[in-house]
């Protein structure tokens, strides 16, 4: 099927989002001229704030859908998950681009960004993060090239051929690289031994980070799939989502067990119940966003309903975000001498960035073969419509 025209429907919401993106771009320009201190609330005590804590750490984690679905679909060949594979890849790619942009925004001497490619500070965790993220973004762009050339037919056949030949290699690399850097995003905090609260600081924090990024993938795919179905008035892939819950549930259970063993091993288990702000946040994270979704996934009456999988998946995703924020903010607050709350400008930049993500996703989904081919179903036939809106 060849559509020659590029389409992008303009709605009120989209206009608003475009406006927010423009605002963010203007703030960014201001930041580049007047420095980070001019509009962020960062300080010597809080050198990393919203952009690193949320856009980068959470953004990359949310993009975890790319590598977990790649593993399930292309390596384990669970064909039934194929319908969501491309959407997951796309979200992941955009997620990484956003993360790279926020990183670029956040580094002070950005014209030096290429330095670590040349001066190998390989004793630094950041070095690994930097290399893996850059390489993985390239891999994803190449993987996406496959899809790109299905829509844009250029008389340059070699590209697609070359790509097909190296695709297995790219796929493997596209799982190994994110495994490494998802975990090393956690390892970044290992060096903050005396700063990060022991409820979160652990020598196996890399395991927790990579593991949670992995189980977040299926949950993200569920949310994305549901939202895309609603936006484009299609039937959500409910059977796929329900099947995915098995993966997520078992991974959550293992996560929980390892967490408890780890806390016990380090002798800090009791501090989860000492009533402090940190301990309450920790309990909220574990009970509300790990145990509760496990229960929801375990009950067939919930798991097989569209609202059920969707709600549980939202909890899983929110839990991973909360976990990252706890590591970056809650866990550090007590030991650092300053205070930090993001400024309005920081929020606006973040909002603009995520709006850009949504807009790009919509544009690509409307112009490239991303979602499963399917006939148009009118809105009222989607049983989940109302519950999802809530």
């Amino acid at each position: 099927m060849q559509k020659k025209r590029w389409t992008f429907r303009i709605t009120g919401l989209r206009v608003l989002m475009i406006a927010l993106v423009i605002v963010a771009v203007l703030i960014c320009l201001y930041r580049f001229v007047y420095g980070l201190g001019s509009m962020t609330n960062l300080s010597d005590q809080w050198p990393w704030g919203l952009w690193i804590g949320f856009d980068l750490l959470c953004g990359i984690a949310l993009a975890g859908g790319g590598f977990s679905t790649a593993l399930i679909v292309h390596v384990l060949h669970k064909e039934k998950f194929l319908p969501i594979a491309r959407a997951a890849l796309l979200t992941s790619l955009i997620g990484y681009l956003i993360a790279l942009v926020s990183l670029f925004l956040d580094i002070g001497r950005w014209y030096n960004f290429w330095r670590p490619f040349v001066y190998w500070g390989f004793h630094s965790v950041l070095f690994e993060v930097f290399w893996c993220i850059s390489l993985y973004t390239v891999v994803q762009i190449l993987e996406f090239g496959d899809i790109f050339f299905e829509r844009v037919k250029v008389n340059f056949p070699p590209y697609k051929k070359i790509l097909q030949a190296i695709m297995p290699f790219l796929l493997i690399l596209g799982i190994v690289l994110p495994t490494l850097h998802q975990s090393s995003l956690g390892s970044l905090y290992i060096i903050a031994v005396n700063k990060l609260n022991p409820l979160w600081w652990s020598m196996i924090i890399p395991f927790f980070f990579v593991w949670s990024a992995f189980f977040l993938g299926p949950a993200m795919a569920t949310i994305e799939g549901t939202l895309a179905a609603r936006t484009y008035q299609r039937k959500p892939e409910l059977h796929v989502f329900s099947d995915l819950t098995k993966v997520t549930m078992w991974m959550l259970i293992i996560y929980l067990i390892v967490k408890i063993i780890d806390l016990n091993y380090r002798g800090v288990f009791s501090s989860a119940f000492n009533g402090s702000f940190e301990s309450n946040m920790f309990l909220l994270e574990i009970i509300g966003f790990v145990i509760l979704p496990i229960v929801m996934y375990a009950i067939p009456g919930i798991r097989t309903k569209q609202w059920g999988v969707f709600t549980a998946s939202v909890l899983v995703v929110a839990g991973v975000i909360l976990n990252r924020l706890n590591v970056v903010f809650t866990g550090m607050a007590k030991s650092l001498s300053g205070q930090y709350f993001p400024s309005l400008w920081e929020f606006l930049v973040t909002i603009g960035m995520w709006c850009a993500l949504i807009l790009i996703y919509c544009f690509i989904a409307e112009n490239f073969p991303i979602l499963n081919k399917e006939e148009h179903v009118p809105n009222r036939m989607i049983s989940s419509g109302a519950s999802v809106r809530a």
């Binding site: 389409t7 580049f32 007047y34 420095g35 980070l36 300080s43 010597d44 005590q45 050198p47 593993l71 292309h74 384990l76 064909e79 194929l82 319908p83 491309r86 580094i107 002070g108 001497r109 950005w110 030096n112 330095r115 670590p116 001066y119 190998w120 500070g121 004793h123 630094s124 965790v125 950041l126 070095f127 690994e128 829509r151 796929l171 493997i172 690399l173 799982i175 190994v176 495994t179 490494l180 390892s187 970044l188 290992i190 060096i191 031994v193 005396n194 020598m203 890399p206 484009y232 299609r234 030991s335 650092l336 001498s337 409307e366 112009n367 073969p369 991303i370 979602l371 499963n372 081919k373």
Partner: protein, 266 residues
């Protein structure tokens, strides 16, 4: 090289502060540019203040006493900041000073996250900010001179020299007056040892020093995890390749081009 600060000998004259600013050309008007939250009424380190003398009041044996503490960067033996820097902008030189090279710095501020003492300062309001801190006057030190601050101290509160000699000296002073000094050399074991050592007659926690620093050098923690990277890369890659090949043979062929399509927004 390193220095030993005997808190009990410091009279708070601030000569070292002045000497430091003059020698390093630090300008006071940068003051407003620092975004350091004041923890106490004491002046804190900042981009233009690489060393400060802070005063603390105590009640000791029923008497009011006052202690002055020269604060500054520690020049750790195994610096967390240098191990954290992925651009090699922070480096420990063989002579002891940890020096910063602004030409390599990316401005990521991971060194600030890594530093266990929160002493690194960033030029927040510059378009191309630097991380600033005491460099232990590397030019003077290589010429065999003392750093500017130590050279002007009128009371001998700062002793400069080989670290081992300083440790000996500190131990001797503690042994000579065991009832006077607190039996702790700050910097001897903290984070694997620092080049700047402190002795005092009041507990270090009360002087604003971090008492939660682990004894193990911080880069060792990271390295314990990081050294697995190549093994994971190769091992995980091999497992995936194996699985891929194994599953590929059993997989049914499918035509992806037939499977997906752009959505129609209307």
């Amino acid at each position: 090289m390193g220095a030993l600060v005997d808190v009990t000998r410091c009279i708070g004259c601030g000569s070292c502060e002045v000497a430091c600013s003059l020698y390093n050309g630090l300008k006071p008007e940068q003051e407003q540019e620092s975004k350091t939250a004041p923890v106490s009424e004491n002046v804190e380190l900042a981009v233009n203040r690489w060393t400060v003398v802070q005063s603390h009041k105590f009640e000791k044996n029923g008497e009011q006493i006052r202690r002055f503490v020269k604060r500054q960067y520690f020049h750790c033996q195994e610096p967390a900041c240098a191990s954290a820097c992925f651009a090699k902008a922070m480096q420990k030189t063989p002579a002891g000073p940890v020096v910063y090279n602004e030409n390599l710095c990316v401005g990521c501020r991971y060194c600030m996250i890594a530093c266990p003492f929160e002493v690194l300062k960033f030029e927040w309001n510059k378009p191309f900010p630097r991380v600033l801190k005491c460099q232990m006057c590397p030019d003077r030190v290589t010429e065999g001179q003392m750093p500017a601050c130590a050279s002007v101290c009128p009371t001998g509160a700062i002793t400069f020299g080989e670290r081992e000699k300083l440790v000996e000296e500190a131990k001797k002073r503690l042994a000579d007056k065991p009832n006077f000094y607190v039996n702790h050399i700050y910097g001897l074991n903290e984070v694997g040892g620092t080049s700047w050592l402190y002795i005092s007659d009041v507990p270090f926690g009360e002087l604003g020093f971090r008492t939660d620093a682990p004894e193990k050098a911080l880069p060792e923690y990271t390295w314990e995890v990081l050294r697995w990277t190549p093994a994971i890369f190769v091992g995980w890659g091999a497992i995936l390749t194996g699985l891929y090949i194994y599953n590929k043979r059993r997989a049914a062929a499918h035509d992806e081009e037939e499977m997906y399509a752009p959505v129609d927004p209307d």
